[in-house]
Assembly symmetry: C2
Homo-oligomer: 326 residues x 2
């Protein structure tokens, strides 16, 4: 007999409640969906779906023919897992966690750039062997970065790399003149022409039909042999086998990878073994307190929804991401 809206909280398999939902207890019925069974049961009753599992592939299987879902919120920047036909082709608004991860990810990227330039991984390996080994390092000042994807994350990366004296170009759907954060923004169809200019190529794009597999053998051949690739976007934007081959062939000098086609990266994957590859576990944006921040953002949006206000950070479902506001 409740008239409170029902919120289906979709987490990864067997995961418990995300922290910080307490403020909603009087205002919403919260249903934990952490397996196929609970998802099948609660989705047809839900008014709102909040998805914390950015890798979910369950939704397509259990999506109900009849439902009353009015809003879907992803507590992630990427919404690729939600762009299934019944959602994409519906008029249900989808919102995301825009802005939350931007600055932490930008810091992470800058840290990886500096790790490559200063060979911190080499220092750590020598340390493990108790070896004192002086090497010359590289400057980052004046080096050229190319940020593929000029959305809010890419923009924050550009700001931070620019603040420490790097030159930063961007790749976006279309060229832009006089951008405040990028030296130049090139249209995405010029990727192969721009890649040879960059010392650091940073993938900060959403996973869409246009970006899936974008970094293939041809792209790696176009990069400088001294260049490094950093991917904090989505794994399938890179053709992993082609990357492994390009690293073996020395077509690029290294890769910092936080995201992968298959996550977790399988234990026997060759990527683990390259000394010039930095692997992290899809954590670039996850600074202490990130789960609570995401839930606070959802609660703010929930209040907008209750009051009939426009939902912030709505995904353009034809494109698969939140378009720039400016």
């Amino acid at each position: 007999m409740s008239t409170k809206p029902v919120v289906a909280v979709v987490t990864a398999a067997d995961e418990d409640w995300p922290p910080g939902l307490e403020p909603l207890h009087g205002e919403a019925e919260l249903m934990l969906c952490n397996d196929q069974d609970s998802l099948s049961r609660y989705l047809p009753q839900a008014d709102i779906v909040m998805v914390t599992d950015f890798r979910t592939d369950l939704l397509e299987d259990v999506w109900p023919d009849e439902h009353r879902i009015q809003w879907i919120h992803a507590t992630s920047a990427g919404v690729d897992a939600l762009m299934i036909p019944p959602i994409r082709d519906s008029d249900i608004p989808v919102t995301n966690a825009r802005y939350v991860f931007d600055r932490p990810i930008a810091e992470f990227v800058l840290g990886q750039v500096l790790s490559f330039a200063k060979d911190f991984p080499g220092s750590l390996r020598y340390q493990q062997q108790h070896q004192w080994r002086h090497r010359d390092t590289e400057r980052i000042e004046g080096k050229q970065a190319l940020v593929v994807g000029a959305g809010s994350i890419g923009r924050q990366i550009a700001r931070l790399l620019g603040a420490v004296g790097m030159r930063v170009d961007g790749m976006a759907r279309s060229a832009r003149d006089s951008d405040p954060d990028f030296d130049r923004v090139h249209p995405s169809d010029l990727l192969l022409q721009q890649l040879p200019e960059a010392d650091y190529v940073i993938i900060a794009a959403p996973l869409t039909d246009e970006t899936r597999g974008l970094f293939d053998a041809q792209a790696f051949r176009a990069m400088k042999a001294s260049a490094r690739l950093i991917n904090i976007g989505r794994g399938p934007i890179v053709q992993t086998d082609a990357l492994v081959q390009a690293l073996r062939d020395g077509e690029l000098a290294g890769a910092g990878l936080d995201v992968f086609e298959e996550e977790p990266l399988p234990e026997d994957h060759p990527l683990w073994t390259f000394p010039n590859v930095l692997i992290s576990a899809h954590m670039a944006g996850d600074v202490v307190g990130w789960r609570e921040t995401l839930i606070r953002q959802f609660i703010d949006n929930f209040r907008c929804w209750q009051q009939g206000k426009a939902l912030p950070n709505q995904v353009d479902k034809a494109r698969g991401y939140v378009p720039p506001t400016s």
Copy 2:
């Protein structure tokens, strides 16, 4: 019968000529001093002494009673090895490699700050074990840095850390109001009062009577348990045994050490084994081409000297470093 000035080039033991001296071949007699024997032979004939070996302890033993030395140049920022009584108490001007290392060292420090915040060493260790392990990381934005030593290197560190959103205070001989690069500059006698405020404590001071052993057990106790120490100054500013004990006792959360009381760090030293210690081989400022840059700077100074102009970057020998110009 040559009237060309004689330049004694003092390198580390058995080291060859530094690169880039060719432009001087018509203008100076260059003498390579890479052991006690050559140093004893050439020093009494030298008009100019150029010291590339910043660790040299030979000078005191072989310093001639009679000499005609008019200028001593160190191709390093620190000149502690040159502050021996016969030089210190003479009126021979001593110059250093001011500015050359500033930006590269600042980049190195920022990289270490980010390595700690993002736990890159942890990621590398998990990578070596092919383990996918998500962890929460830390922000650097808004964190408090304390730069001990507000000379040209410390200032460049402050600029770079400030540019990425950290708050940066400095410690200097005396307090300064409204500094362009530091939020506040505290006088050095307030070190113990300032240490508890800092998330990152960065030693960028010269080695002098005042700074030798400055970081002792009491200083480490004053630091936050979550704070990290970064030393790119000189090893003996830190009491190594006290640091090891403080790390064991958890009085600070980590240390990034590029310089040591004994260099190379002995193979059996306990510092190698701490997972929260980052060791590098006195290389923070040594970006590709650094040796050539240092020699170009010496040649520029040599031209000044020949033309009777004032030598830039003169060390205040009473203090043991080049005082701020402003």
